[in-house]
């Protein structure tokens, strides 16, 4: 206290009675803040969806924290982190899905990255050029939950919820097929290739195709499938036929299918049926041969132009094919032979007309029947299919004049006797003809010919010297005679001209002649009158004309 004067001048505060003790409202502030904070935290927590891991081959186009995950174009989450897989074989993308996305995460759900893709048949994902890539989801049908997925490298050809049917085909090779290649039914695109894979043994390709509803009901257990990729050019009696499914399939390949015969109701398809994918429609529609008999043919001629697969025909009908061509060395007889193995499909000998008795007329395997046929002259022969290419085929036919032979049933496969080919015969004929030609005395003939020509020449010369002058004189005379004749003809012509002139209708002579003629006619008339009168009155000759006659 340093002096009381200062406090004296300090004014006294006004008395203000304290208001009733109010609630400490300030504590509402932290309460509200806590409530808000808790609500935010809880809502964030509850909105958090499942976190999954997707294994991709590459992170091309993926951005951590940015790339969205879309199902049917609806945003269902985003890629959180991208890390390399432990074994560096790919990348693992951690995806944060939104709440409620658990339903999407089942065993067969598929994820793939949507990028712009241009393939032969389609252009897709162009919008991602602007918006950036995104991960698309196709939800599976399983109920098994899953948190780790393997991302697809290629977008699936169809989504799980697309109505239709998946079929498996077995093909020798993939041809020009690719995922998305069209499947045609009556040249209408009804589906596409969904996937393909080499079979485990590497001997065939398994192609999975998807047929869209409602076309899937046209597939039956009997349907045949074939590659519709290429052009089928056939040259036959009708000319050249070019057959192809469509220009599109020509470019990108495709599969076509059809039933081999009319079915009132499509046959049901067993669930694990694997269809064969044939090379062409003709092959697909060929009835399958279940039975095959093998025979061996030994030819004593070149088999150049004969290939495995070449047809074996019987009088023009293909009944089998060449299976293999070997060379065999027989050390005992020191001979090299070329056994050709053929396969005969005995079912093709079965008479269709005698349906219901499949055994009837069958070329049976027991050998007796074939042996009998061989006795009657059944022989195999190499024939040229095309002189241009020199392709050979094996023909079976009866040669009753062929030397006797036996079917070697003991051998397996049995050996069918062969006969020399027609071309071979032709060859022999040409050779003998050439030999005969060689024996002809060509030189002698040539000298005789020269002599004959010389005599002809002398004859001509004699004719020239002896006959020609006389002929010339005769000709001169003839010319003279002709000139005179011409003159005579001229005179005659003149005479005729004068005659013509004097006989013209307006000439004096003509007029006089006419007058004379008229006069003559009148005279004749008078004479006739006189004659009539005299006939009626003969006495007039004596008495003269009577008066009453006037």
């Amino acid at each position: 206290m340093n002096g009381d004067s200062a406090p004296e001048r300090i004014p006294e505060a006004l008395p203000a009675p304290k208001a009733g003790r109010s609630l400490p409202l300030v504590w509402l502030v932290p309460a509200v803040a806590l409530l808000i904070g808790a609500w935010l935290a809880l809502s964030t927590w509850f909105e958090r969806g499942p976190v999954i891991e997707i294994h991709f081959h590459t992170a091309e186009g993926l951005q951590a924290g940015k790339t969205r995950i879309k199902y049917k174009d609806v945003d269902v989450g985003h890629i959180g982190e991208i890390a390399l897989a432990g074994d560096l074989s790919g990348v693992i993308a951690t995806a944060h899905l939104s709440k409620g996305a658990e339903k999407l995460l089942v065993e067969d759900t598929r994820f793939w990255v949507v990028r712009p893709r241009i393939s032969g048949s389609s252009v897709s994902g162009l919008q991602t050029l602007l918006s950036g890539t995104y991960v698309a989801v196709d939800v599976g049908k399983s109920t098994q939950r899953r948190r780790l997925f393997i991302g697809l490298e290629q977008p699936p050809a169809f989504t799980t919820d697309a109505p239709g049917r998946t079929l498996t085909l077995r093909a020798e090779d993939i041809g020009s097929l690719d995922i998305g290649s069209p499947v045609y039914y009556r040249r209408l695109q009804v589906g596409q290739v969904a996937a393909y894979a080499l079979e485990a043994d590497g001997k065939a390709v398994k192609v999975t195709i998807f047929i869209n509803a409602p076309y899937d009901r046209f597939v039956s257990g009997h349907s045949r499938f074939w590659h519709a990729s290429g052009i089928d050019v056939a040259l036959d009696a009708d000319g050249v036929r070019v057959k192809t499914e469509s220009l599109m399939s020509l470019a990108i390949g495709g599969i076509a299918f059809d039933a081999p015969f009319d079915e009132p109701e499509p046959a049901p398809i067993p669930p694990d049926l694997v269809f064969d994918l044939h090379r062409s429609q003709a092959v697909a529609f060929k009835s399958p041969d279940r039975l095959a008999d093998s025979y061996v043919l030994v030819f004593n001629q070149s088999v150049r132009g004969l290939q495995p697969g070449a047809p074996v025909d019987f009088r023009g009908i293909v009944v089998g094919e060449v299976a293999a061509i070997h060379t065999q060395y027989d050390p005992q007889r020191e001979r090299i032979s070329i056994p050709v193995e053929i396969r005969i499909y005995p079912e093709r000998f079965t008479s269709r007309l005698r349906g219901g008795a499949p055994k009837a007329g069958r070329l049976s395997k027991d050998g007796k029947f074939v042996a009998r046929l061989v006795e009657r002259g059944l022989r195999a022969q190499l024939r040229t299919a095309s002189l241009l290419t020199g392709q050979l085929y094996v023909a079976l036919d009866f040669f009753p004049e062929a030397p006797k032979a036996q079917l070697d049933v003991a051998q397996s496969p049995p050996e069918l006797p062969t006969t020399a080919s027609t071309l071979e015969d032709l060859h022999a004929t040409i050779v003998s003809l050439a030999n005969k030609l060689e024996r002809v005395p060509l030189e002698q003939m040539a000298s005789d010919f020269t002599n004959a020509m010389q005599s002809l020449d002398t004859l001509a010369r004699r004719l020239d010297t002896e006959l020609a002058p006389e002929a010339r004189a005769t000709l001169a005379e003839m010319r003279k005679t002709l000139a005179e004749a011409t003159k005579t003809m001229g005179d005659a012509s003149r005479t005729f001209g004068a005659a013509e002139k004097s006989l013209a209708p307006d000439s004096a002579l003509f007029a006089e002649l006419q007058d004379a003629a008229r006069e003559f006619a009148r005279t004749a008339q008078s004479l006739r009158t006189l004659a009539d009168y005299l006939e009626r009155n003969p006495q007039a000759l004596l008495r003269g004309k009577s008066a009453d006659a006037q």
Binding site: I10, A13, G37, T44
Partner: protein, 202 residues
Amino acid sequence: MSAAAERGLFSCGTCGLVSRAPAAPGAACPRCHTRLAFRKPRSIAHCWAYLVAAMALYVPANTLPIMYTSSLFGSSEDTILSGVLYLWDSGSWYLALIVFAASIVVPLAKIIALAALAASVQFGWGSRRAERARLYRLVESIGRWSMLDIFVVALLVALVQLTALAAVRAGPAAPAFGAVVVLTMAAAQSFDPRLIWDDERR
């Protein structure tokens, strides 16, 4: 040194007039009629309340996205920290530092400093009164800089609205962050620095 309160003198918080306390409890400024008290009433309690609220909202303000950006090229959401990291990664480290300081360090520092001051008064820690007073002045002066983030977001939301091409929306962290700043300012306001010296004599 002696406090005015010990001599029964009020200092008006509005006009600064000093007046003597009347005999009856409760007083008002004779000049501007503001209600008078020796110290801000329940200063420490208010300060704590505001601080607790600020702390409660500080967590969502930093963990939730403050801004959603969507454009033709995709959409993204950013928290304050991810924005700072983005700035740092893209080379604008000075901007990153400014945003980091203004948006993360300053609010946190304010909360810690005010909590320390309130605790020191409440539990009567007698030492370093001058430093504590300096700390208080510092806290009060930097408060206004903390709204930087809110200004940025508000500007972007208003400017970038090209519906189809690009759009910016404020995230749930934006109001939370704004509330944190406001609450720390209120806490600083409610703290009465004179309390630092009140127990000096005891």
